[in-house]
Symmetry: C2
Subunit: 181 residues, 2 copies
Amino acid sequence: MIKKQLIILITSLMILTPVKGQKDNPQTITYNAIGYFRTPYTPETRAPRQGILKPDVKARIEILPKYREALQSLELFEYIIVIYHFDKSEGWHPVTRPPVSNPRYTFGLFATRSPNRPNPVGIAAVKLEKIEDGILHISGTDAFDGTPVIDIKPYLPSIDAIDSPQNSLLEKELGLPGKTK
Amino acid sequence: MIKKQLIILITSLMILTPVKGQKDNPQTITYNAIGYFRTPYTPETRAPRQGILKPDVKARIEILPKYREALQSLELFEYIIVIYHFDKSEGWHPVTRPPVSNPRYTFGLFATRSPNRPNPVGIAAVKLEKIEDGILHISGTDAFDGTPVIDIKPYLPSIDAIDSPQNSLLEKELGLPGKTK
């Protein structure tokens, strides 16, 4: 009986302990939420595709108290990047069908922005309206209410804003407007 | 004796099991590397700040075999977004000093792109040259060799390319050129 318990203990420790930095053993990475989205969207109401295309929708990100000091001067930036965890993600398939009729290409998952990914991590540029008491008031998001936030970064045009006519042409195949200048 | 083992088992399971979606209990998020960077940079050689500003440097991302089917059609895109784990990150401080002399502002960590973050996750837009046998040939990266990759997404100008004169002005304070059209 003791032996059985010990086997369960050791097995559970082996399963749950992250493997460190081996190149041939996939590495396990653990993050903790630094805050949560507060938005009008739930899986029942659904959400728009790519919230930045709906800039009128207001939302908030509540940063947990221990991380609030790190928000200093962030309010100087008009646009920020939010990295978040699609906690409603439902597994993934290698090949997806984008929500556009008669797509010209078959897209592998990594060629799409689907939330159902091997690691369901999302990124979005959002407009920052103001920061009050550790709460970021933003507009233009498609995140569900309660979505855990992993990181916040300033949007830096030198490295983040890329003009790519080829990508603009292609994004129409993924159901986006295809930005033109 | 059995009781003691049971207590150890239950305690270890409690410590190691992620807490799901509680607002007041920070949520633990676990990802697995989908591949690794192969670059000329190590902590000894150091790396340029923001690799996209050094487009001549060639590098690779090796995607693990089980994820390769999901790369289909990605090669159509000229630019992609790579989300990766700063595995050489050394903890974080709430307030940082950007690498520019006489900065006008004090920047909280979330107002910078420092790799030393609560969750050391990095994002970068890189140019995709070609894909061969699950290996992405890219240019313009500042990642160290062996850096674990969490996700790959297409760069979609409609939602990712933002023109913000205010952010362009500010990024000079963070030591970047300050993009102008």
